[in-house]
Amino acid sequence: MSDWTTHLLIAPVVVPMLAGAVMVLASDRWRWSPVPLGLASMLAQVVLAMLLLAAADQPAVRIYRLGNWPAEFGIVLALDRLSALMLALASVLGLAAFVFSLARWQRAGVHFHPLLQFQMLGLNGAFLTGDLFNLFVFFEVMLAASYGLALHGSGTARVRAGLHYIVVNLVASLLFLVGVSLVYGIAGTLNMADLAQRMRGIASEDRAVLEAGLAVLGIAFLVKAAMWPLGFWLTGTYSAASAPAAAILSLLSKVGIYAVLRLWLLLFGDDAGASVGFAGPWLVIGGLLTVAFGSIAVLASQNLSRMAGASVLVSSGTLLAAIGSGQVRVTGGALFYLASSVLAIGAFFLLIELVERGREVGADVLAVTREAFGTGEEEEDIDAPDEVGVAIPGTVAILGLSFMTCALLLAGLPPLSGFLAKFAILAPLFSAGAAVTPMSWALMAALILSGLATVIALVRSGIDVFWTTPHSAPPRVGLIEFAPIAMLLALCIALTAAAGPAMTYLDAAARSLHAPQDYVQGVMGVPDPEPRRAP
C-alpha cells in the first residue's frame, strides 16, 4: 500500500472533502473567495478521474483499504471500469456546473461552492465504495448536498419541489437502512463482495428474508433512479432547481441506476445460488413503464425544464429495462447510453437556462395554447408575404445549434452518440441467433417511441423558442456560461467519433459486471496487511 499511486483511488473523495471544508472555514474566517480553490478541486477531480479511467482498464479490480483494515470487515474502496466511468462522468459534469455557476448562480445564495464540493464528495464516494452501509453514508452526503443545491436560490417553486424531494428521499433512505440491516442480520456482512460470496451459501429459510431485504433496498435505489411509479418527484425538483444544480442533480438519478447495476449483477449473477436473476423481469417492466411515462411527460411538458426532467425519466427507464434484460452485451450498450445521456442531459439543463433567459414568463404556455388551438384556422397565404429570411444573431445561432445537438442526443437521432447508444442496446437484443423475446420487442418499441416523443416535443419547443418568437435582443450569454455546454456536447461528439474504443472499454466493464468473480476476488482475496502493533 506504500506506492503513492494507490492513494489515487481515494483522491476523488479526499480532494472535494478538503476543498469544501477549507472553503467553509476560509470564507467564514478570512473571507476568501472559494472560486480558485473550487476550480482547482474540480480540475483535479477531472484529472484524477481520467487517470483512474486509465488505471481501471484491467481485469483486476483495484481496492483501497481504509484505515488499513482488511476487506473482510473494514471498509474498502473498489475501482473497476464502471466506477471509473461514473467518476469521470461526475467530474466532468461537476466541472461544467462549477464553471457555469461562476457567471451568475454562485451569487444566488450562500455556501454554493462548498455544497458543490460536498456534492462531488458524495457522488465520488458512492461510486467508489465497496461497502453497503458506506454506500448509504455517501448517498446521504450526496443527498444532503443535493438538498442544498436543489434549494439554491430559494423561491416558491424550488422550496415547494424541494419539500417533496426531501421527504421522498428521506423515506427512501429509511428503506435503504431497513434493507441494509436485513442484509446484515441474515448474511452477517456489509461488504458487497463478501455478500456476493455468501449468497450461494445462504440457507433457504434465511434466503427469503435476505431477498426481502434486498428487495426493499432495491426499492430505495429505484426511488432515486425514479422508476415509475416511484419517481414523480423528479420532474418537479429538477425543473425547479437552478441550472447548475439541475445539471448535477441529473447525475443523481444515475447513482440509483449505478447501485442497481452494481448490486443486482453482483448479487444475483450466476453464483447466487437460488437467487439468480432475482426480480429481473420487474426491472424490465418497471423500466419500460418508466420510459412510457417519461415519454408522456416529455410530450406533456409545458416548459423546457420539465421536459429535461422528463427526459431524465426516459433515460432512467431505458437503463433499467436494459439492465434488467440481464445480457452482457446489452449492459455494455446501456453503459454507453448512460455516458451519452448523462452528458447530454447535463448540457441540456445548462442550455435551457441560457435559452430561456430573456424570454417572457409564460411564453411556453402561450405557445402551447397557440399550437393547440390556433393552427389551421388562419387562411394560408400563398402570396409569399415576405420571402426574405431573418438573420439569426450569432448568440442565438450558437444556442440553436447546441439545442439541436441536445435534441439529437436526447431523442437518439443520428448521427450522434444518442443514436449509437440506442443501437448499442438494441443490436445485441436483435443480433443474429439471439432469441427475440417479447421483452426485446418491448424495449425496441420503448426506445424508438420515446425517441419519437422526444423529437416531437423538442421540435415543438425548439421551433417555439428559436423560430416563432424572434429574439429582439439576443440573450446575454457569457462565454463562461457557454463553455461548459460546449465542453459537454464536444464530449458527446467525441464519444460518437470514438465509439469503437469507448465500446470496447464499456463492453469490458459489462463483462466484468456480469462475471463478478474478479471483483469479489479482488476485494476479498487480498492478503491481510501485516497485523497492527500491539498496544
Binding site: 474566517r29 473494514g74 428474508v209 426493499v216 409569399a384
Partner: protein
C-alpha cells in the same frame, strides 16, 4: 484515385463545406454560392470519375470500423445504382445551387441556406452510398433533419414552421421505423452489410420475421416518398424556398424512399406482402395525388401533388413482381427528377418575377416571359407524357407493365391498366392547367410585380434540364441508356431482363392507352377549365378531407392533450400519492420476496418476555399512537409525545446493552424537541372545525386506505424484525471487531472504535452530512420569509406588553426577567457543569460510552439552554466566540486531516495510530489519533447544531426588528449576527 478517398470526399466534402458556409458572414451570398457550386461540381466530377469502375459492373467500396463490436462500420459502397443516384444528387445539386444564387434575395442570410443545402447534399450522398444498413438509416434521419431545417428556412412565417415540423414528424417517424426494420433485418441476416444482406434474399423472405421487417422498412420508405397515407406533408413542405423544393422534393429527398425500395428489391420484393403494401400504396397515391393536383391553385402545390402522384407511380412499379417494372421505376425516377426539377425552378422564376404563385391570378405570362414559357411548356409536356420527351418513354414502359402484371395478388390490381390511364389523364389535366393557366390567356394584370424574364443564369439550369428531357425523349438509348443499364444491372445483376429503350415500339396497346389518356386529359381540362379559373375550393369529393388539419388535430390530441391526460392519470405532482406508492412498493417488494420463498421464525429461542420492558413499550406504543393521533390539531402534544417515544427508545437501547446509543438518542431527542418548538413558532394555528371541505365518505375512505398501509407497513416491519432477531448468521463481521477493538484499535468501547477507526470512513461521511445540512439550513434561512400571519409577536408576548403598559410598569421586559430570575441564575451555573460533562464524554469515548458526537450535542444543548433562558442577543453578546461556520469548517478539517495524516506514514487514508505515552505525574496516557478524529466530530457537531438552531432562532430577532412594538434589547454583536444569519 483510391475508392476510399473518392467516396469519403463525396460524402465528406459537402459537410465540410457546410461548416465553412455556416461560418461565412450573413451577406456573403456570392461566396457561399460559389463554394456550394464548386463543391457540387467537384462531387459530380468525382462521381464521373467512378464511371469506369461501375460501368464494368464494379463496385467502389471503402470501410471504416466504427463500433466493430456491434458490427457497425462506415461502409461506403458505390455500385451502378448508387452511382446513378449520386450523379443525380450532385448534378442537380449543382444546377440548384446556380439557380438559388439568383433566386435568393441578397438580403437573405444566404450562407445559412447554402450551409444546410450542402449538408443535405452530403447526407443524401451518404444515404445512397451506404453499404451498411444502419449507416443508411443514419443518413436517412439526417436527410429528414436537414430537410426540416431547409423547409423552415423562412421560419418567420407560420407556414414554414408548420410545414417543417410536419415534414420532420412524418419522415423522422418513418426513419425510426426504418431503423427498427434494419435491426430486424440484421437479426435475420446476421449482418448489416449491404452486400451480405443482398446475398441473403431467400433467408430473408423465408424468415418468420420477414413480414415485420417488411412493414417497418416499407413504412420508412412510404413516409419519405410521401406515399398515401403519409403524403400530406409534401405539399406543406412547399413553404420552403423554391430551390429547396426543386432539389429535395423532386430529385433527392423524396426519392430516398423509392431508392430504398429499389435497393432492397432483390431481397425483399416478389412476395405477396410486398405487392400488397408497396403496390397498393403506390396505386392509391398515384391516383389521389394526380386527382388533387388538378385542383391546386398554388403552382408549387400543383407540382407537389403531381410529385406525389409520380412517386406513387414509381412505387407502384416497384411493387409489381417484375424486373422490367423495376427498370421502368428507375428510369422514371430519373425522368421525373429532370422534368419536375425544371418545373419547380420555372415556378420559382414565375413567383420570383411576378410575386405570386396563384394560378388564378396568373395568366398570359407568355408575353413578358416567352423563353421561360417555352421551357415550362416542354417540361410540363414531359410531365404529361407527351411523345418525344422523356416522360413519355417511361410512361409507356409503365403502361406495358400495367398490362403485363400477370400475377396480381388482388382483384384490385386488375384495374391497373385502367388506373394507369386515369392517372395519366389526370397528369395531362394538371400539366395543361399549369401551362394554360399561367402562360396563356389575357395579359397579366394586378400582379405584385411587373413580370419579365429572369436573369440568364437563373434560367440556365432550367435550360439544361429541359434539354435533358428532350434529349432523353428523342434518343433514349443513346443518351440515358448506358447509365440506366448500369443502375439496373447493379440492382438486378444477372436477373436483368432484356428491355429496349426506344421512342417507337410500333402501334401497341400502351401507345393506344397513351392516346386515350391524352384525349381524356384534354377533355377533362376543357370541362373543368372555367371552374378552375374561377377557383375551386379544393378537390371535389374529398374537399373536406384536409390531411394537414387532421394531422394537426391528431398531433394536438395525441402528443399534447392525451399526453397531458395520461400524465395526470399515470403520474401525480402531489406528495401523498407518491409516498403511498413508495410505501406500497416497499411493502409489496419486501413482503412479496419474503412470502414467495416462505419465511418463518428462526433457529434461536426467543428470550422470555420481561414484564418491565413490556410495560415500557406500552408507554412507547401509547406515545407513538398518541403522536399519530394528535399531530394534526395539537402539534405541541405531538411534539411532547414524540419525546416520550424517544425516551422509551433510549431506555430500550440501555436495556439491550447499548449505552452509546442511549446517550446519543437522548441528546438528539432534546435538540430535536427544541428544534421542533422553534419551528412551531412559524406554523399557522390550526383549528379543529375547518375540516368540512371534502365529503366525509371520501375522507373516510382515504383514511381507511392510509390506515391499511400504515398497518401493513408496521406489520411487515414487526414481522421482519422478529424473523431476523430469531436467527443469527453463522459468521458475523462483529467477531472481527470484538476481537480486534482493543488489541488493534486501542479502545475498549467497541462501538466507538468501530465509529472512529474500523468504520471511521462512515463517520467521516456522516459528519459531512451534518455539516452540509447545517450549511443548507443556514442558506435557506437567510432567505426565510415568514407567512403573513406568523410575522407578528406571539400572543403571549403581546399580552405581556399590554399588561406592562396598562400597569405603567417598569421597562418593557422586566417582568420577563423577573420570571426568569431564578432559572437564569441556575442555568448559568449549569453551563460549566455541562461543559465538563461534555469533556468527560469526549475524552473517555474510546474506552467507555460517549464520544465526540454526544459530547458535541451536550455542548450544543448547554449553549441552547443559555439562548432559551437568556435570549438571543444577551447570549450572543456574551458568547461572541461562537462562529458556527468556522467551527464546522474546523471540525471537518480536523476529522479529514486525521485521515490524510496517515499518508505521511505511507499508510492508507484513515489509518489510526495509537500508543501509550509515559508522562511524568500522569503516568501512562493513551494517545490515539482516533481521539483527534473524535475531537473533529465534536467540533463539527457543536458548530452544525448551533448553526441550525441559532439560524432558526434568529428569525424571531429579525421579525422583531421589523415589528414596530419591540422589546428594547441590546444590539446583537454584529459578528455573531452576521455569522448566524441575521442577514435579512
Amino acid at each position: 484515385m483510391p475508392d476510399g478517398i473518392v467516396l469519403a470526399c463525396l460524402v465528406g466534402l459537402p459537410f465540410v463545406a457546410a461548416i465553412v458556409a455556416g461560418l461565412l458572414p450573413t451577406r456573403a451570398r456570392d461566396t457561399a454560392s460559389m463554394l456550394a457550386g464548386a463543391v457540387a461540381l467537384v462531387c459530380l466530377g468525382l462521381v464521373w470519375s467512378a464511371y469506369g469502375t461501375v460501368s464494368g459492373g464494379g463496385v467502389l467500396r471503402a470501410e471504416l470500423p466504427w463500433m466493430p463490436q456491434l458490427g457497425l462500420s462506415i461502409v461506403l459502397r458505390m455500385d451502378g445504382f448508387a452511382w446513378l443516384f449520386a450523379g443525380l444528387i450532385t448534378g442537380i445539386g449543382a444546377l440548384v445551387v446556380l439557380y438559388a444564387r439568383y433566386y435568393m434575395s441578397a438580403e437573405d442570410p444566404v450562407p445559412r441556406f447554402f450551409s444546410f443545402l450542402l449538408a443535405f447534399m452530403g447526407a443524401m450522398t451518404g444515404l445512397v452510398l451506404s453499404g451498411h444498413l444502419v449507416q443508411l438509416a443514419l443518413f436517412w434521419e439526417l436527410t429528414s433533419f436537414l430537410s426540416f431545417l431547409l423547409i423552415g428556412y423562412w421560419h418567420h412565417t407560420a407556414a414554414a414552421r408548420d410545414g417543417a415540423r410536419m415534414a420532420l414528424t412524418i419522415t423522422a417517424t418513418g426513419g425510426l421505423s426504418l431503423f427498427a426494420g434494419v435491426l430486424v433485418l440484421g437479426h435475420i441476416v446476421g449482418s448489416y452489410d449491404l452486400d451480405v444482406v443482398l446475398a441473403a434474399g431467400d433467408t430473408i423472405r423465408d424468415h418468420p420475421l420477414y413480414i415485420v421487417a417488411l412493414i417497418l422498412i416499407v413504412l420508412g420508405a412510404l413516409t419519405k416518398s410521401a406515399q398515401f397515407p403519409f403524403h400530406f406533408w409534401l405539399p406543406h413542405a412547399m413553404a420552403a424556398p423554391t430551390p429547396v423544393s426543386a432539389y429535395l422534393h423532386s430529385a433527392t429527398l423524396v426519392k430516398a424512399g423509392v431508392f430504398l425500395l429499389a435497393r432492397l428489391w432483390p431481397v425483399m420484393a416478389g412476395t405477396d406482402a410486398w405487392a400488397w403494401t408497396v403496390g397498393l400504396a403506390g396505386l392509391i397515391t398515384m391516383l389521389i395525388g394526380a386527382y388533387i393536383a388538378i385542383f391546386q391553385n398554388d403552382l408549387k402545390g400543383l407540382l407537389a401533388y403531381s410529385t406525389i402522384s409520380h412517386l406513387g407511380l414509381i412505387t407502384l412499379l416497384l411493387g409489381l413482381k417484375s424486373e422490367l417494372a423495376l427498370i421502368a421505376a428507375i428510369f422514371h425516377t430519373m425522368n421525373h427528377a429532370a422534368f419536375k426539377c425544371s418545373l419547380f425552378m420555372a415556378a420559382g422564376i414565375i413567383d420570383h418575377e411576378t410575386g405570386t404563385r396563384d394560378i388564378r391570378r396568373l395568366s398570359g405570362l407568355n408575353g413578358p416571359m416567352p423563353f421561360t414559357a417555352r421551357l415550362a411548356l416542354v417540361a410540363a409536356a414531359a410531365m404529361a407524357g407527351v411523345p418525344l420527351l422523356n416522360g413519355f418513354i417511361s410512361k409507356e414502359m409503365f403502361f406495358a407493365e400495367a398490362l403485363s402484371a400477370t400475377a396480381p395478388v388482388h382483384p384490385l390490381l386488375n384495374v391497373l391498366p385502367l388506373a394507369a390511364m386515369l392517372a395519366s389523364a389526370f397528369s395531362v389535366v394538371y400539366s395543361l392547367r399549369f401551362i394554360h393557366g399561367v402562360f396563356f390567356g389575357s395579359p397579366p394584370t394586378d400582379l405584385p410585380r411587373t413580370p419579365h424574364e429572369p436573369a440568364t443564369w437563373m434560367r440556365f439550369p432550367v435550360e439544361i434540364l429541359v434539354l435533358t428531357c428532350i434529349m432523353v425523349g428523342v434518343l433514349p438509348a443513346a443518351t440515358v441508356g448506358p447509365y440506366l443499364d448500369i443502375a439496373a444491372r447493379a440492382v438486378l445483376g444477372d436477373a436483368t431482363p432484356y428491355y429496349s429503350l426506344a421512342v417507337w415500339h410500333g402501334v401497341n396497346l400502351p401507345l393506344l392507352m397513351s392516346v386515350v389518356a391524352m384525349a381524356a386529359g384534354v377533355t377533362i381540362y376543357l370541362i373543368l377549365q372555367r371552374r378552375l379559373r374561377e377557383g375551386m375550393d379544393g378537390p371535389p369529393l374529398i374537399r373536406h378531407l384536409d390531411a394537414q388539419r387532421l394531422f394537426e388535430r391528431a398531433m394536438v390530441t395525441l402528443s399534447w392533450r392525451l399526453a397531458r391526460t395520461l400524465e395526470r392519470i399515470a403520474g401525480t405532482r402531489r406528495l401523498q400519492p407518491q409516498l403511498r406508492l413508495i410505501l406500497i412498493a416497499a411493502i409489496v417488494a419486501g413482503a412479496g420476496a419474503a412470502f414467495v420463498r416462505g419465511v418463518g421464525p428462526g433457529n434461536l429461542v426467543p428470550a422470555p418476555i420481561d414484564p418491565v420492558l413490556a410495560l415500557l413499550w406500552v408507554v412507547g406504543a401509547a406515545c407513538a399512537l398518541g403522536a399519530a393521533w394528535q399531530a394534526k390539531f395539537h402539534r405541541l402534544a405531538a411534539t411532547i409525545l414524540l419525546g416520550g417515544v424517544g425516551l422509551v427508545v433510549c431506555v430500550t437501547f440501555v436495556w439491550f446493552s447499548a449505552p452509546d446509543l442511549a446517550l446519543t438518542q437522548l441528546t438528539v431527542e432534546i435538540v430535536t424537541t427544541v428544534l421542533l418548538l422553534l419551528g412551531l413558532r412559524w406554523l399557522p394555528k390550526r383549528m379543529q372545525s375547518s375540516s368540512a371541505r371534502e365529503p366525509e365518505v371520501l375522507g373516510r375512505t382515504r383514511r381507511l386506505r392510509d390506515l391499511a398501509i400504515a398497518t401493513a407497513a408496521g406489520g411487515c416491519m414487526a414481522m421482519l424484525a422478529y424473523v431476523v432477531m430469531t436467527r443469527t448468521p453463522p459468521e458475523l463481521l462483529a467477531q472481527h471487531f470484538l476481537a480486534r477493538a482493543y488489541l488493534e484499535g486501542g479502545g475498549t468501547n467497541v462501538v466507538n472504535v468501530i465509529l472512529v477507526d474500523f468504520r471511521g470512513f462512515d463517520t467521516l461521511g456522516e459528519i459531512f452530512v451534518v455539516g452540509v445540512v447545517a450549511l443548507t439550513t443556514f442558506a435557506l434561512l437567510r432567505r426565510f420569509r415568514p407567512a403573513a400571519d406568523s410575522v407578528e409577536l406571539p400572543e403571549q408576548q403581546r399580552d405581556q406588553l399590554e399588561a406592562d403598559e396598562a400597569r405603567h410598569a417598569r421597562d418593557d421586559g422586566r417582568h420577563v426577567a423577573d420570571w426568569l430570575l431564578v432559572p437564569f441564575t441556575l442555568t448559568r451555573l449549569l453551563f460549566p457543569v455541562m461543559l465538563v460533562a461534555a469533556a468527560f464524554l469526549l475524552l473517555r469515548g474510546h474506552d467507555l460510552p460517549g464520544g465526540g458526537f454526544s459530547a458535541g450535542m451536550v455542548v450544543a444543548i448547554a449553549i441552547i439552554l443559555q439562548y432559551i433562558v437568556g435570549g438571543t442577543e444577551w447570549t450572543e453578546d456574551r458568547l461572541s466566540l461562537l462562529r458556527p461556520p468556522a467551527w464546522i469548517g474546523t471540525g471537518l478539517l480536523l476529522a479529514a486531516g486525521t485521515g490524510v495524516a496517515a499518508w505521511a506514514f505511507g499508510l492508507p487514508f484513515m489509518t489510526s495510530y495509537f500508543s501509550y505515552a509515559d508522562l511524568p505525574v500522569l503516568g501512562k496516557v493513551p494517545m490515539a489519533s482516533a481521539l483527534i478524529f473524535d475531537i473533529g466530530v465534536f467540533v463539527l457537531v457543536v458548530g452544525a447544531t448551533l448553526l441550525m438552531l441559532i439560524a432558526l432562532a434568529h428569525q424571531s430577532v429579525r421579525g422583531r426588528r421589523s415589528t414596530p412594538r419591540t422589546l428594547p434589547q441590546a444590539k446583537a454583536s454584529p459578528r455573531v449576527a452576521d455569522a448566524v444569519g441575521g442577514g435579512g
